[in-house]
């Protein structure tokens, strides 16, 4: 058995007895992908060249260049925001919710039709295993559009009273860990609520956002409703601070989230931040053992641990600590690390050299502080960015690896004696995004969940996402919720308020907000109905 591209680590050395577990390579074909060698910015429905310095995006599993990507400078950001504003004023805010819903349904269906293509592109650009992009990222992204498509004509029920209004132009900045899925989390509710968007994908993972721009064209969305700007931190900064952006939505690190909050302080921009986490995964001694082990593995090694809500702190009841660690190690030795495009790969590549460096540095700190490190025995490919699944035992709550977000396949194991201690330790973090509880006793699960300060709590499972379920954090994990009705409300204002707190004297000069203008509905079968014209103050 030979590896197709040198990155599969499961091939036995020559001469060694081959084993069934060295599954023959089963690579997903990249033939379905028609990538261009260069990608521009997607502004006003078209791809245009950016004015910043172009950069390349590479595949983290091979370090091979995938495409050259334009970078947006401040003038590009301005052009994109202007396009979004025009689209908001002229088309998107004037059509009925049902019409908006049709566009969103169309996008969702196109994502499903092109699912394989998106999955391959995502694994290529991000490094995550194809089985994950195929079974999780892409289907969930489509599900998000389907879900919010259904909301588009039901905004009266979003919890803000009758006739809530869109905010205007949303500036959205997303991370590299779930490039397409985070795009869906951001764009679907924004469009359903009637906003237009300018979205900046992460510098290392722009590919699926650019493919999504093609979907936007395919769906015939009015020009400017969705704009995609690629670039680095400066592009994101120019976007969120742009004076004509009404709503800022950011998912990423707490440090950058803080910076954004500071930069937009004093403006009337709405903001939702979904930031870091250091989730506790609490395993009680009556937990279903095999499923708990799976949940621990899924909690921290899913997506190479590049998950803000990853269960990176395992809190295990002391009387089963050794057994859990033994079983965990046995399970980790069966994980398959290698070529992200191989359908049998469980763990893919670390997204970037910089992230790999950070994971290595924090792991080194863990060892230096006295925690015991164990890494799954596996041959890592020579090219690309790789880190073996690693667990630290003997970790105490004061260790940096128990407090700081590693954002990689590194698990810290701590123990507790009583439910009370488990709760105290779980809450002993500046973060509060998610938590997991493993117990066969329903009353204990509910009682503990009640006291955990985390936005999402999973019981006897982990890392489960659904568009109907709101997601967001406590404390330094951010504010605002994405998903569900709450995620929709984050892109709406009550009928009376307006996106700008314009001085009263000027307010009279702008188009009144509350006037209702009859607009012919696109569907001749339905009677003309009143569609609100939103005051754009422009």
């Amino acid at each position: 058995m030979t590896s197709t591209n040198g990155t599969t680590s499961n091939t036995p050395p020559a001469g060694q007895k081959s084993s069934f577990l060295d599954y023959a390579p089963a690579p997903e074909s990249t033939a379905i992908l028609n990538l261009k060698s260069e990608y521009g910015l997607f502004i006003n429905g078209e791809f245009v060249d950016g004015h910043g310095t172009s950069f390349t995006t590479i595949s983290p599993s091979t370090e091979k260049t995938i495409a050259t990507i334009s970078a947006a400078d401040a003038s590009d950001v301005d052009a994109a925001v202007k396009a979004a504003r025009r689209a908001f004023d002229r088309s998107w805010s004037t059509i009925s919710g049902r019409e908006r819903g049709k566009y969103l349904f169309r996008i969702a269906r196109l994502l499903q039709e092109r699912a394989r293509e998106f999955a391959v592109a995502e694994s290529l650009d991000n490094g995550k295993p194809i089985k994950e992009s195929r079974d999780v990222d892409v289907p969930l992204a489509a599900a998000w559009f389907f879900y919010y498509a259904g909301w588009a004509d039901k905004l009266d029920h979003a919890g803000l009273g009758a006739n809530p209004r869109a905010l205007g132009v949303a500036g959205q900045v997303i991370p590299w860990n779930f490039p397409l899925l985070m795009l869906a989390w951001k764009i679907a509710p924004a469009l359903a609520a009637g906003n237009t968007v300018v979205l900046k994908p992460a510098e290392t993972t722009p590919l699926t956002a650019l493919l999504f721009a093609e979907v936007v064209q395919q769906a015939g969305l009015p020009a400017g409703v969705v704009n995609i700007l690629t670039g680095a931190g400066a592009t994101g900064q120019a976007l969120v601070t742009h004076p004509d952006v009404n709503k800022v939505a950011f998912t990423g690190s707490t440090a950058v989230g803080r910076l954004i909050a500071r930069q937009i302080a004093g403006t009337d921009k709405r903001v939702t931040l979904e930031l870091g986490g250091k989730a506790a995964n609490i395993v009680f001694d009556d937990a279903p053992m095999d499923e708990a082990i799976e949940g621990i593995v899924n909690g921290i090694f899913f997506n190479q641990g590049h998950v803000c809500c990853a269960g990176s702190r395992l809190l295990v009841q002391e009387n089963i600590h050794d057994e859990v660690v033994d079983r965990l190690k046995a399970r980790l030795t069966t994980l398959r690390i290698g070529d992200p495009l191989d359908k049998n790969t469980d763990i893919g590549a670390i997204n970037s050299a910089a992230q790999l460096e950070r994971i290595r540095a924090l792991s080194k700190v863990g060892e230096d502080e006295g925690a015991v490190r164990w890494s799954a025995p596996c041959d890592l490919p020579e090219k690309g960015f790789w880190f073996a699944p690693t667990i630290f035992t003997n970790v105490s709550t004061s260790h940096r690896i128990a407090r700081e977000e590693v954002f990689g396949p590194v698990l810290s194991v701590l123990s507790f004696r009583t439910p009370e201690e488990a709760i105290a330790k779980a809450n002993n973090t500046p973060y509060g995004l998610s938590a997991g509880i493993w117990s066969d006793k329903g009353s204990r699960v509910l009682a503990v969940a009640d006291k955990l300060r985390a936005g999402v709590i999973w019981a006897n499972t982990f890392n489960k996402f659904d568009p109907a379920s709101p997601f967001g954090g406590f404390k330094e994990s951010g504010y605002g919720r994405e998903g569900g009705r709450h995620g929709l409300a984050a892109y709406l204002a009550p009928a009376e308020s307006r996106p700008y707190a314009a001085p009263a004297i000027q307010a009279a000069a702008v188009e009144p907000v509350a006037i209702e203008t009859p607009v012919a509905d696109a569907d001749p079968q339905t009677p003309t109905k009143f569609v609100r014209r939103k005051g754009a103050n422009k």
Binding site: M1, S19, F20, L21, D22, Y23, A24, P25, A26, K131, D135, D286, A287, P288, M289, D290, E291, E294, G295, T334, K343, N344, D440, N460, T461
Partner: protein, 337 residues
């Protein structure tokens, strides 16, 4: 059944080693109830995950041959005749008349009264120690319901062993199990095991059928699996094939976890046999993956893993022919048994 019951159980070395010398119905019950529970959703998710492995080219070719060598080719019908059993044996000996490189199956599985016919038909190829040998497995203990007196069940076993059965597939008393009468189930398995002994002191292999479709919950399956192993079973088997659902991937996965844990605890390896409902190569490969990744590759041998199946063999042969010829054959290119 109450926890205070202290009826001494029949001697069973494994149970005494694990539970202690004061083996009683009460201590057995406490032990079984103390096992970690099973989360049904998580178990199903893990099974789905294992089932999504993509087994291609060389791995697939190896898997197809391995599947054949793990099959208990089965006929368990009221209409079984000597002719039908001889035909089954012929198929077991020569699975693919057009390709003699095909491995033989592990065993033929028949009702007890057909053991003599099967033995005679196998001739020199009977028994795992013969070159290319095939075992004769007999279902016994009032299969499939198990609703008979212990005396009748033991006579059923003894008849099959006397007739030359290499393996006995017994059913547990699901009624007693569901009534909480674990001691009764345990004693019966111990007694059947004793009845498997031949005059030369060797034993016919004992497969214990849990009939998981009737036990209904995964917690029950887990307890019954431990119970069967503690009582001396060499194999735990999912189903008779007469009750739906028969073998499923999650239930087999759970039983593999039990034998893995038993090995972890004692160093001893117990076999697993999913039976009923596995009809395609694609499904069977999922089971191989589960065995290799959960229990370990060393379980992929006929003394530790079997498929109880009848139609599976021909589907595997068609897949095998596809690999060697490059195209799919029609069903008429494999023989019916």
């Amino acid at each position: 059944m109450t926890l205070s019951s202290s009826t001494p159980l029949a001697p069973a070395a494994r149970a005494i080693d694990i539970i202690g010398a004061d083996l009683t119905e009460a201590s057995l019950t406490r032990y079984l109830r103390g096992l970690p529970t099973v989360d049904a959703v998580g178990l199903a998710a893990r099974a789905t995950d294992l089932g999504s492995r993509s087994i291609k080219t060389t791995s697939k070719a190896w898997a197809l041959d391995k599947i054949i060598s793990l099959i208990d080719l089965t006929t368990l019908e009221g209409a079984d005749t000597p002719g039908k059993v001889r035909s089954l044996v012929a198929k077991a000996l020569t699975p693919d008349a057009s390709d003699m490189t095909s491995p033989r199956v592990a065993a033929v599985c028949v009702y007890g009264d057909m053991v003599a016919t099967a033995t005679e038909a196998l001739g020199n190829s009977k028994g795992e120690h013969a070159p290319g040998g095939i075992n004769v497995a007999a279902v016994a203990t009032a299969f499939p319901s198990g609703r008979a007196s212990l005396r009748v069940k033991l006579a059923d076993v003894a008849d099959a062993v006397d007739a030359g059965a290499d393996e006995i597939d017994m059913v547990i008393d699901r009624g007693a199990f569901l009534a909480g009468n674990y001691g009764r189930v345990f004693d019966e398995i111990v007694a059947v095991k004793a009845a498997c002994q031949r005059p030369d002191k060797s034993y016919a292999h004992l497969k214990v059928i849990l009939e998981t479709g009737e036990l209904n919950t995964y917690d029950n399956v887990k307890r019954a699996s431990w119970l069967a192993i503690l009582a001396g079973g060499d194999f735990i088997k999912t189903s008779t094939g007469k009750v739906a659902p028969a073998a499923t991937l999650p239930v087999t996965l759970l039983m593999l976890q039990v034998v893995r844990d038993w090995h972890r605890l004692t160093g001893e390896r117990i076999g697993v046999k999913p039976a009923g409902g596995i009809r395609t190569s694609k499904d069977a490969i999922k089971y191989l993956v589960a065995v290799a990744e959960v229990a370990g590759e060393e379980w992929l041998e006929p003394h530790l893993f079997r498929f109880g199946a009848s139609s599976l063999l021909n589907d595997v042969l068609l897949q095998r022919q596809k690999i060697s010829t490059g195209h799919y054959s029609a069903a008429s290119y494999v023989t019916i048994d």
